[in-house]
Symmetry: C2
Subunit: 357 residues, 2 copies
């Protein structure tokens, strides 16, 4: 039985989007391919409110995190940590010999401009990493405010943003906020099959990359830029996923960006209300995510059993992430192409299974 | 009009394989996903004649080349170069600060065990890179003989093989030949949409990786191995491409591996005969590729115009690769799911367009 995915990625993919993958194969150096990427380009720029390049990689978001931090750090990176995924930036830096420090808040808390200011003022950092939406704790960080602080007080610091579970589900104004790399994979709020990663990259990040030796090959922004100008990629792109992306971007823009952001907020509100009524919210109320809600398992149910029962009814949610949060929390994603009706249906099923009234 | 692809990747993808991508999305930490990867695993091992692990990455082959050379070189790599793609190993090494030397033969020539022996004996190398099938020149290197030499005289040297345009089109006996990393992307002889990379990895390569600091994150074999054991991947895999791979592996094994290798040789023989009759073969006859034939443009035709005319008839071949070979050669790929009938049809069209008899 097919389970509708209410997990924070991969998310439910509509049949029309799945079907878009089946267009006949084309050569990646052909005009047909350049036409495809050329069609995708301005639509992605709209979603990210940018006139700067948006690159496409055959990769998961993790690969692109690695590529980004390798090619932008000359001195030292400051990694802000508020959960398991934001901590990955630090692991990636260490695995690449990139000098980095981390500043961590309690899980469930968010990263504030004040925390960033205090940490940046203490060291000679040229890169800051921020996780827009921390998928483990359900925290959405105040990216706009953090960026405003950095642009004002640390203008040369390159801001790398993991927006994996936020991009295309919440507004990110790349140019206006002064961000440098905002990356995501497309199986989250884009509601596409996984395998494609996207990054908006600023002039400042490109200039930085020019100075970084041993910055790597596959994710190299400067090599990518050369091909980007002719609507191609250096390595063979994931053509069938690009077909799906092109279709989905049309649908996203037809929905309207503000409508899309609002739909995510509406879904989040429904889940939050329900969570406050029957359980408790795990994150601090100031940092609630618009795309995934982490719920405290205050009733001490078996989340695994709940998910099993949901599976028999055609749905799947996520257990808490990692040994720290598994069974102590559970997560309901409300992202991508899910609707308020979908979310209401899901919560009704959970209420029915658990006998909540 | 759809053009059947006789280019060395992406290759023609059959409708059944395109359709396999549209199965509903599943979570990558679910049993459903582990069942999928678990189904793929032994079939891939059969294709590569190995009992050692075969890893799957959301990436092009280039990314996996970078990952492989980063995590296996402690001392110095010897890169064997016989064309544009084998030279990429060297570029990748340099871009990562990995110490490397290259030994190059004239384009059209192959790499022999003697050349490898002479070069390895001169330096303190712990990695050798070989390009099984050089897509630019249409050369297939005697990988088995090279590996036999290395295993005998340089037993600790790790052999990295770019088999991008050869794997699943020509026999590679990973275990029997004593190879260490054999990588490919799946849009060539696997005849899948691009976006997926595959690597068989030996115990020797894994042991080496353990000793390499800063070996990177996304392609890290040791982290991959941990997840491989439960039929998962550390990062989100390209699920829809795995559906297609699973379908295609069933079809490959139903054809029979020997039948598949022989079909590629038969197609190659047809193209070679035709090339000898009307043109000349670019590579030395000792190193002709079974998957792509590079033809000398001895008639001084416009390859671009020929391809345009072919496009109107529903086919596409490749111009020569790069400034060195463009218009001086052209390439006909005979790989993946193409048949002898397809190839005969193509050559008939070319003869008709050019008035060859």
């Amino acid at each position: 039985m097919y389970k509708k995915l209410f997990i924070p990625g991969p998310t439910h993919v509509r049949d029309e989007v799945l079907a878009a993958q089946t267009a006949p194969m084309i050569g990646h150096r052909s005009k047909d391919y350049s036409d495809l990427q050329g069609a995708v380009r301005p639509k992605l720029q709209k979603v990210l409110y940018t006139e700067q390049p948006v690159f496409l990689y055959a990769s998961s978001g993790t690969g692109l995190m690695e590529g980004s931090i390798r090619q932008t750090v000359l001195k030292r990176a400051l990694v802000t940590v508020c959960g398991a995924f934001s901590a990955r930036w630090y692991e990636v830096a260490v695995a690449n010999g990139v000098p980095a420090d981390s500043v961590e808040v309690e899980w469930g808390q968010g990263i504030t401009p004040e925390i960033v200011d205090a940490a940046l003022s203490k060291g000679d950092y040229d890169v800051l990493t921020v996780t827009f939406n921390e998928t483990s704790t359900g925290v959405m960080n105040p990216l706009k405010d953090i960026a405003a602080l950095v642009r004002e007080k640390y203008p040369d610091t390159v801001i790398l943003v993991d927006a994996v579970s936020g991009m295309a589900g919440a507004k990110i104004e790349f140019d206006a906020w002064g961000l440098d790399v905002v990356l995501a994979s497309t199986q989250k709020c884009f509601a596409l099959p996984p395998g494609l990663a996207v990054a908006a990259v600023s002039e400042r990040a490109l200039k930085r990359a020019e100075q970084v030796p041993n910055r790597g090959y596959y994710f190299d922004f400067l090599n990518m830029l050369k091909y980007y100008k002719k609507d191609q990629t250096p390595a063979t792109p994931a053509v069938s996923l690009l077909y799906a992306l092109n279709q989905q971007l049309d649908d996203i823009l037809a929905e309207g960006l503000d409508n899309r952001w609002n739909r995510h907020i509406e879904m989040a509100n429904v889940v939050r209300e329900w969570a406050r009524k029957y359980w408790a919210l795990f994150p601090d109320e100031r940092f609630l995510s618009n795309t995934v809600t982490t719920v405290k398992n205050t009733r001490g149910i078996s989340v695994a059993d709940l998910n099993k029962a949901l599976g028999e009814r055609g749905a799947m949610i996520s257990n808490g992430y990692g040994s720290k949060l598994r069974e102590k929390t559970f997560r309901i994603a409300h992202m991508g192409d899910l609707t308020v009706a979908d979310v209401n249906w899901l919560l009704g099923q959970i209420n029915d299974i658990l006998g909540l009234e």
